[in-house]
């Protein structure tokens, strides 16, 4: 049991939990059992069926209800006298500002996405409240401690960018199933059911410029004289047949590649379905999420591999059902892994395309995992991580800085350890979040618009949600509820101007100040004009640099009992249970760093560097805590970097 000092620290503490999901349920339970009496918990999510295998505070009957609220009620059943304050809200909402954060002694994160983690990190830095951060994927997990001025902040180390694919791989030359999924989800699904006004490469690339004129009318619009069956077949023939034939005309492309095979409905399906369609689609139960093409086709097991014919039937059926049952949503649909019909459509479309390109087909279960970027999750890892979070939280409350540890939960033992504690590091002096290091942005100031800068840099890269952009004293852009109408119009106009033509022109040498008032984060960006960018390597058309995210662990001398050190690389991702926001991420061989075995008694490991790590704390280089009796030290080594990290003393 906890000591007297621990108990008094626990009892007097007011803690904020962010996230009531996989880690959150376990954490709330362990906090309550450990004696915490004042817990606030924020979670915007509602309960889903796929949560029930691990989020044990929830039952089938709670599906659809607020996680934060149900979790509170469940815990009060065994600890009725403690205070739990739930917020069914987004942690990025303005009500959770610096003043709100200041009331807590410690913040505990059990989040599922990078964006929210960065936001909480900034609020913790701004309010001076310590943060215990955590994440799990499958059997892997980690807990880290971030205390302003004492340890590094969550953003002192770079987070690997989500994997993106060259546009032409997706539109013209897929070689892997994931390419087909991205095509089906981000191009075809978006084109048919999403916002029509959004740019979409579906047709641009797949029909080359010379032939595009004959398709000046939008082939994806349903014609007045078409029924859904005809429409579906025409779309099918266009994207899987015609477009492939057009692509094949470009001999150059296929010199060193396998040629795809155009697929037309007439080759796969009977010419015209005989009476099977008519009015057979009964009005459904009213819940649009229960509409399913596979169910109505008698396909039951999501693990089964469908044939090309079955995929084609699912494709046509799903498309038809979207128009019949969910017409109101068309034009504003985004892909959602919990939307059965959307998953069916994307699975079938990806499979038909895969068949055309000679890529192995996949089951709906597998396709859903890839398309929805679903991260593996089990109860045990979350329970372990929650226990570790509470241990760190107690140390933080006692201000026991020397005992702070980052702990990795491993799938395979390293140096006999399944749970590996590591001393935290000092803040990265060149971190733009917790220090004031200016950044540099290379950009074509004559071509890029302010909108590009706001979307691709300020929001995507810097993670700001309510930005304010200044050039000297001139305000170029700001968002907020309290703006005057003319200001709003002014800023909207600015968004569409190229940088060099703004009222206060931004050119090479300009220093911009970007600020997020909610996060209380401010940074300067030196603008450097550059004419050309590599379309494939630098698709944003701009390059942000300036803070040195990677870090190298310092070499540690072994003691005099004989040199014996081993290198181990450990990649442990932070949790991202159900992250829809970020692009599909696959393995990047560059971040696979193999350990070297030096001595038979030492174990070196390279754990899967991949693990669909959406928020991926990929390579972390840490010195494993040294036991007094141990002479060998595990160094975790990754990308080399001249920076040295000092441990917290």
């Amino acid at each position: 049991m906890a000591s007297e000092e621990q108990l008094s620290a626990i009892k007097g503490a007011k803690v904020l939990m962010v996230g009531a999901g996989g880690i959150g349920c376990e954490l709330l339970k362990t906090l309550a059992l450990s004696g915490f009496e004042d817990i606030h918990i924020i979670d915007m999510d509602t309960i889903e069926v796929s949560n029930l295998n691990r989020q044990f505070l929830f039952r089938q009957k709670h599906v659809g209800q607020s996680k934060a609220k149900v979790a509170r009620e469940a815990v009060l059943k065994f600890r009725p006298h403690i205070k739990i304050t739930p917020y069914h809200a987004n942690v990025k909402d303005p009500e959770f500002n610096v003043d709100f954060f200041k009331q807590f002694n410690v913040v505990l994160n059990g989040l599922d996405n990078l964006d929210a983690r960065r936001h909480v990190n900034r609020l913790c830095l701004a309010s001076g409240v310590p943060l215990v951060e955590s994440g799990t994927t499958g059997f892997l997990g980690q807990v880290t401690v971030h205390v302003k001025g004492k340890t590094e902040c969550y953003e002192c180390q770079s987070k690997p960018a989500p994997k993106t694919y060259p546009v032409c791989t997706i539109t013209s030359t897929p070689t892997k199933f994931v390419h087909c999924i991205v095509w089906a989800k981000d191009l075809l699904f978006a084109k048919l059911f999403g916002n029509k006004n959004q740019e979409n490469d579906l047709n641009v690339r797949s029909t080359d410029a010379s032939s595009s004129s004959e398709h000046s009318e939008d082939v994806f619009e349903r014609r007045a004289d078409e029924d859904f069956e005809q429409y579906g077949r025409r779309i099918y023939d266009h994207v899987f047949g015609y477009n492939i034939e057009v692509a094949l005309r470009n001999e150059e492309t296929w010199k060193n590649r396998n040629k795809p095979r155009p697929v037309y409905t007439r080759d796969v399906l009977p010419l015209r379905p005989v009476g099977q369609n008519g009015n057979k689609d009964k009005a459904s139960t009213g819940d649009p999420s229960s509409v399913s093409a596979m169910a109505s086709l008698g396909l039951k097991n999501p693990q089964d591999l469908w044939s090309l014919k079955e995929n084609s039937e699912v494709f046509l059926k799903a498309l038809r059902l979207f128009f019949l049952k969910r017409e109101k949503e068309i034009g504003q649909l985004g892909f959602d892994k919990d939307d059965q019909l959307a998953v069916e459509f994307v699975t079938s479309a990806a499979n038909i395309r895969a068949a055309s390109f000679g890529i192995p087909l996949h089951s709906l279960f597998e396709a859903k995992g890839i398309a929805g970027n679903i991260v593996h999750a089990v109860a045990t890892t979350n329970a372990i991580i929650a226990g570790l979070i509470v241990l760190e939280a107690i140390k933080v409350l006692q201000n026991d800085v020397k005992s702070y540890r980052m702990t990795y939960c491993l799938e395979h033992p390293s140096r006999k350890m399944l749970l590996m504690p590591v001393e935290p590091f000092e803040p990265n002096k060149s971190c733009y979040v917790c220090s004031e290091t200016p950044l540099t942005l290379e950009i074509n100031t004559h071509r890029s618009k302010l909108r590009d800068f706001v979307e691709k840099i300020v929001k995507a890269k810097l993670g700001m949600s309510l930005p304010l952009i200044m050039h000297g004293v001139a305000l170029l852009y700001e968002v907020g509820d309290d703006l005057e109408e003319d200001e709003v119009a002014n800023y909207a106009a600015n968004l569409d101007k190229v940088l060099s033509e703004l009222p206060s022109p931004v050119t090479g040498g300009t220093i911009l100040t970007v600020e997020d008032l909610q996060q209380e984060l401010k940074c300067s960006i030196n603008i450097k004009h550059r004419e050309e960018f590599d379309e494939e390597k630098e698709p944003d058309g701009m390059v942000l640099s300036g803070w040195t995210p990677a870090l190298a662990a310092e070499k540690i001398k072994t003691s005099d009992n004989g040199p014996s050190s081993s290198n181990a690389s450990q990649t442990v991702p932070l949790e991202s249970e159900d992250n829809d926001e970020i692009e599909i991420i696959l393995k990047d061989p560059e971040i696979l760093a193999a350990g070297k075995k030096r001595k038979s008694a030492d174990v070196s490991v390279a754990v899967d560097s991949e693990i669909f790590s959406v928020t991926g704390e990929m390579l972390t280089k840490r010195k494993v805590e040294e036991d007094d009796s141990h002479n060998d030290i595990v160094m975790v080594d990754g990308n080399s970097d001249p920076n040295k990290k000092k441990r917290v003393q």
Binding site: M1, S34, Q303, V378, K416, L418
Partner: protein, 363 residues
């Protein structure tokens, strides 16, 4: 004989990992051509229900459909319901084992409720009920697809036939004598019954694992490798002379043996110690260390004091050790992943979770 293997999770052919497993983890390993040796409970071909697929979606992505199917056919017995074993029960009920049988006849008291999240707050709900009955009701609610039941009676009187019904037996907070005898009964059976004991004191925890002869498959590159592990019984393991153990053996191992032996000699129930016993325990430590030719510094006073001073468990440690135990049982049932051999130690003071292999080298 020892060998090094590269394990590879076969649920995802994209994962490439290179890992050297320390010699002590794998006893013997051989390359098989396409033959699969599975656990007895493995039944291929049956399909999961739609409900199972929906609820277990995220974990099927971790261990695959086959493993899920084997889990749902497995029968688990747990005796001694304290913080750690209750955490364990929660974990495997959520994971979806076939059945869970609980054994703990103690009547519910306020104290017993303290480290337990399975018990309802209403006093009237627990009056007159045994701990097992109370936990049973809560656990059923966690996952209606798992059959949870109670078996009354003292653990020590169950005969070998009784354990035959199970694939996994877990004992928590169990005396040395009973631990040895239950373990021995499990080993006598014609089928393999995996035996686990788990103990948490203060901020420390220990897990012991006996899978007898255990084979499991893993894929390395394109080959399927069958790995065989040979486990000693608890009695055999703790009989291994201390001087033959590695110099850097976890101190917790020795300390737990001293206290366990002390309780046995004094006729105490597990955990029935206090700091007042320290002088006698120190005396016993001296005797044991001399007998084993081990320096007493391997069992520091500070550690002994912590283990004896507090009989109640520390909830975060229960969650951690119960989580590791859950993971290990799932590995053993599913035949996926390297199971730990044969001790696990966690100490919140240094935060390490360590595996130690303590088996007789000659056997």
């Amino acid at each position: 004989m020892s060998a090094t293997v590269n394990p590879k999770q076969d649920y995802d052919e994209n994962i490439e990992e290179e890992e050297e497993i320390a010699n002590h983890v794998i006893t013997r390993c051989q390359i098989l051509i396409p033959m699969f040796v599975r656990l007895q409970m493995g039944t291929e071909g049956e399909q999961l229900t739609e409900q199972e697929t929906a609820i277990y979606d995220r974990q099927i992505r971790v261990w695959g459909v086959d493993a899920q199917r084997r889990l749902s056919k497995s029968n688990v017995f747990v005796s001694g319901l304290k913080g750690t074993s209750v955490e364990f029960c929660k974990n495997i009920v959520l994971a979806g084992v076939g059945s869970l049988t609980l054994n703990d006849d103690r009547l519910v008291t306020e104290d017993l409720l303290f480290a337990n999240f399975l018990t309802p707050p209403d006093e009237n709900d627990f009056r007159g009920k045994s701990v097992a009955e109370l936990c049973c009701d809560s656990l059923k609610d966690f996952n209606p697809m798992v059959s949870v039941s109670v078996e009354k009676g003292a653990l020590s009187i169950f005969d070998a036939d009784f354990f035959q019904k199970f694939d996994v037996v877990v004992v928590n907070c169990c005396s040395l004598l009973t631990k040895k005898s239950v373990n021995a009964k499990c080993r006598k059976l014609p089928k393999r019954v995996a035996f686990y004991s788990v103990e948490c004191r203060d901020s420390c925890g220990e897990i012991f694992v006996d899978l007898q002869n255990f084979s499991y498959c893993k894929k390395k590159n394109e080959e399927t490798i069958e790995c065989k592990l040979h486990y000693p019984s608890f009695e055999e393991a703790i009989a291994v002379p201390w001087r033959s153990l590695p110099k850097r053996m976890s101190k917790l191992y020795y300390a737990m043996r001293v206290i366990e032996r002390f309780e046995e000699l004094e006729g105490r129930n597990p955990g029935e110690t206090s700091v007042d016993d320290l002088p006698n325990v120190q005396k016993l430590r001296k005797e044991l260390c001399e007998a084993h030719c081990l320096n007493e510094s391997h069992i520091p006073d500070s550690l002994l004091r912590r283990l004896m001073a507090s009989t109640s468990e520390f909830p975060p440690v229960c969650a951690i050790v119960g989580g590791i135990l859950g993971q290990e049982v799932i590995k053993a049932i599913s035949g996926k992943g390297d199971p730990l051999k044969n001790f696990f130690f966690f100490d919140a003071m240094d935060g390490k979770g360590i595996i130690e292999d303590i088996s007789n080298v000659n056997s």
